[in-house]
């Protein structure tokens, strides 16, 4: 069987120190993206459990699997969660969600929780699209721009490149940073063009790290132009899977001239986390 270099590791986690049965409100968020799905459970506003897995061909099934995996080992089942909000590309296909909210609002709210109220610009680099968001100190969206017409500047584009170069997706960023000198970026217009350009560079004898550096640089440049359109405030954070790619993040920071805010939390769960935070507020409101 061929090695799937694009295939990233799926995982789940829960906090063994927290007793969910003691919580007054258990809220859940499910972010069904085009490439990955995340589920988050919060107990009275504290992060309790989450999962991150690939989205399958069936959105409702992906949502259910993500939620069940997040709840694995906790003794809880989906009906135990008081309020679930669906978000992401497949948000309207989460059968057990009481409400659907766009991933734009959820990423802003999630980033506010993860990085603190200082965050003003959020760049969500997802599997299929890229979103630039401005938010206030409460995590409410002030402006947004989404580009989902082409795969350039998205996680899927990076997966294509990992497969082409036979480099595990988790190693792409660090390998791209191992170049002695920064090469010129490849085409940032389209992943198909970028892939054919990368193939040409490999035939011309470029080592893998140099090709990856050229691609990461193109991706950083691409998303910078989105940020230029909505305006950039230096308190900025990156969410989504590409936020874990040091090669893109460091080049983005260099091009923008600012350092991205750091967090110990998993940047990929920001959308589901935001959805769970909305869920808590909506549940409390429904009981008033």
């Amino acid at each position: 069987m061929a090695v799937e270099y694009w295939r990233w590791k799926e995982y789940n986690w829960h906090d063994p120190e927290l007793d969910p049965r003691a919580a007054q409100v258990l809220s859940g968020g499910v972010d069904v993206g085009s490439v990955s799905s995340q589920a988050v459970i919060m107990a009275d506003g504290k992060l309790y459990a989450y999962s991150n897995m690939r989205t399958g061909s069936d959105s409702p099934e992906s949502a259910r699997k993500a939620m069940e995996w997040a709840l694995e080992g906790t003794g809880l089942a989906i009906p135990d969660v008081h309020f679930v909000v669906g978000t992401g590309y497949g948000r309207v296909n989460v059968p057990f969600a009481q409400r659907a909210i766009t991933e734009i609002a959820c990423h802003a709210r999630g980033a506010n929780f993860m990085y603190g109220p200082v965050v003003r610009t959020v760049l969500d680099m997802g599997g299929q699209d890229c979103k630039a968001i401005h938010c206030d100190d409460k995590g409410k969206v002030q402006a947004f721009l989404m580009n989902d017409k082409c795969a350039a500047g998205t996680g899927r584009g990076m997966e294509v490149m990992a497969d082409l170069l036979s480099v595990p997706i988790e190693e792409v960023g660090s390998l791209s940073l191992s170049v002695d000198e920064e090469p010129p970026p490849v085409s940032s217009t389209c992943v198909v063009f970028a892939k054919s350009e990368a193939s040409g560079l490999m035939r011309a004898g470029w080592p893998k790290n140099r090709v990856l550096a050229a691609y990461c640089s193109a991706m950083a440049h691409r998303v910078c132009s989105l940020l230029d359109r909505i305006g950039m405030e230096k308190e900025f954070a990156i969410t989504g899977g590409i936020g874990k790619n040091a090669g893109v993040v460091s080049r983005l920071e260099k091009e923008l001239g600012v350092k991205a805010l750091k967090t110990d939390m998993d940047s990929q769960i920001a959308g589901a986390l935001g959805a769970a935070l909305f869920g808590r507020v909506l549940y409390v409101k429904s009981k008033e």
Binding site: I101, V141, F144, N147, D148, S225, R229
Partner: protein, 93 residues
């Protein structure tokens, strides 16, 4: 909130911007009837505001949907923009 609907591709930036803070104050939303291509619709956004938005089906082809209102020469004021009493609509191209 400035909601940008549209896309950026190799040929340029094509976004319709709705200033929802202005849009929410308008009850009639005449922009919707003014658009000959039926690009706009009324939605309830994530913050429960009733505002105008670009229909999903037009977001990835907005350059072409709006093309009839944008002749290469002698371009008149865009009908949707002219109809908006709150000056809450703008086109990026």
């Amino acid at each position: 909130m400035l909601a940008n609907f549209g896309y950026k591709d190799g040929s340029g930036d094509f976004f319709i911007t709705v200033d929802t803070d202005g849009c929410v104050k308008c009850a009639d939303h005449p922009c919707i009837a003014a658009c000959p291509a039926g690009v706009l619709e009324i939605i309830v956004d994530d913050y429960d505001d009733t505002v105008c938005a670009v229909k999903d089906g037009h977001r990835k082809r907005i350059k072409y949907s709006c093309a009839p209102c944008k002749p290469a020469t002698g371009r008149p004021e865009l009908r949707c923009v002219a109809a908006c009493p709150a000056a809450a609509l703008a086109h990026s191209w």
